[in-house]
Amino acid sequence: MSLFEMVVTPGSVDTLFYIGSMLLRIVIIFGVIMLHVAYASYFERKTIGHMQVRMGPMVVGPRGLLQPIADGIKLFFKEDIIPAESDKPVFYIAPIISLFAALSSLAVVPLFNGFVIANINIGLLFILAMSSLGSYGIIMAGWSSNSKYSFLGGLRSSAQVISYEIAMGLSLVGVMMLAGSLNLTEIVKAQERYPLNMFLIPQIVGCFVFVIAAIAETNRAPFDLPEAESELVAGYFVEYSGMRFGLFFVAEYMAMIIMASVGIVCFLGGWNPPLSILEIPYVPFAWFFIKLYILIFIYFWVRATLPRYRYDHLMSLGWKVLIPLALANIVITAIVKVLL
């Protein structure tokens, strides 16, 4: 019975219980992910600091552990500056759309077997739809600020997001074909038949395309051209300050966590351990989070290692390398699936 039917059917006994358990899950997932967002920024600064032989944040709290909280409080109490020539309603709504798009994708990500807010049949398509909605926040922020830097940043970002969305969608088609479902829980369960409980080995090409596309889709280094500070100051959110800037910041880290979660669910076997000996008892979500931390670390590692791409290189990589590669992966997967 879907939620819609539950609400629509009058006198449904379970309705209240259902809504209550739903709200509880929403609160838990929201709290956990917000904490992860805050400490992802700390983890990033520490990782990059140590890679560049620095200490990273050390002042606030023991070993700088309270730094994200101090940053949050600072952003919250900063003055909110709005450009006089900006398009006010669009300027106000842009960061909210960015955050909304990132947050709503969380609803379909299964943290462990059965623990998901909405177990819908089109989970993967829902995530693709929400990530395409995210580009609106960026375009609208860039346009409404009425500033050349933010406008160029917005245009770049949206062109990049649209191009890499195609590669990302195509790279996931192989997973859909192997799993025979778009439901994220079903996809994880389908991987139990494969080595290491993962689609990683049969879908290595798809995984390669997905990881690159996910980095570009979230506008992270080395594809962080929308925020190229040497040419565009800060890109699309250059005119934003205070908490409105904070919302963009949270949305970016949230999008990273969601892309990593999709990678885990589709290629790395979700909550299942790679070998059954390694199963951690009584903590069903342990492997999901271990995999999440590894992927997030790879994000930061790539950022600390690689220089920024040039814009035309970025476009030709997306259209001339990743999309043909993903298409070839689909054809080969289909042939192998028919033959076996």
Partner: protein, 170 residues
């Protein structure tokens, strides 16, 4: 009761948003209202158990086509609305045409007959999931129309490339 209420809200919102889209002076605002409109249409599909269609509506229309609209508008950089002479002369003529059309539609609505029910029923969609049913029927019964549509789209893509590359050859 609640299902009808949701439908009534969606229908009313779609009509109001459509009117707002065509009456805004700022084209960017029009596009953003259209985005909201597409989401309401997707919700309408959801109430009909057509979840695949709803997702595609958002991915293709909201995520791709509308962004292209936005690109074109932003690149044109319209400071104010262009003033173009009307296609049809006096407004009473247009109003008459619109009212005539409305009259015809209301007349034809009376002779509306529900089509014969086929093999794909709401119950089947619920057990098989919408995506599977749609995929099966699209790639078996409607494979020729599907291929023809694909060819038409391919022609359009090649045409766009030819137009864009024209300068390089000469």
């Amino acid at each position: 009761m609640l299902a009808e209420g949701i439908f009534a809200y969606l229908a009313a919102a779609i009509i109001v948003l459509s009117i707002l889209v065509v009456t805004r002076r700022n084209p960017v605002h029009s596009v953003l209202l259209m985005l909201l409109l597409f989401f309401h249409i997707a919700a309408l599909y959801l109430t009909l158990d057509a979840e695949f269609l709803a997702a595609i509506q958002v991915i293709v229309y909201a995520g791709a086509i509308l962004v292209l609209f936005l690109f074109v508008i932003l690149l044109l950089n319209l400071k104010e609305e262009m003033v173009v002479s009307r296609y049809i002369g006096p407004w009473p003529l247009g109003l008459m045409a619109a009212l005539g059309l409305l009259f015809m539609i209301t007349l034809s609505l009376r002779s509306f007959v529900a089509g014969p029910s086929g093999q794909i029923t709401a119950a089947l969609i619920k057990t098989e999931t919408h995506t599977k049913v749609l995929g099966k029927i699209l790639f078996t019964e409607y494979i020729y129309p599907f291929e023809i549509v694909s060819m038409v789209l391919l022609v359009a893509i090649i045409g766009a490339i030819v137009l864009a590359k024209k300068k390089l050859r000469s």
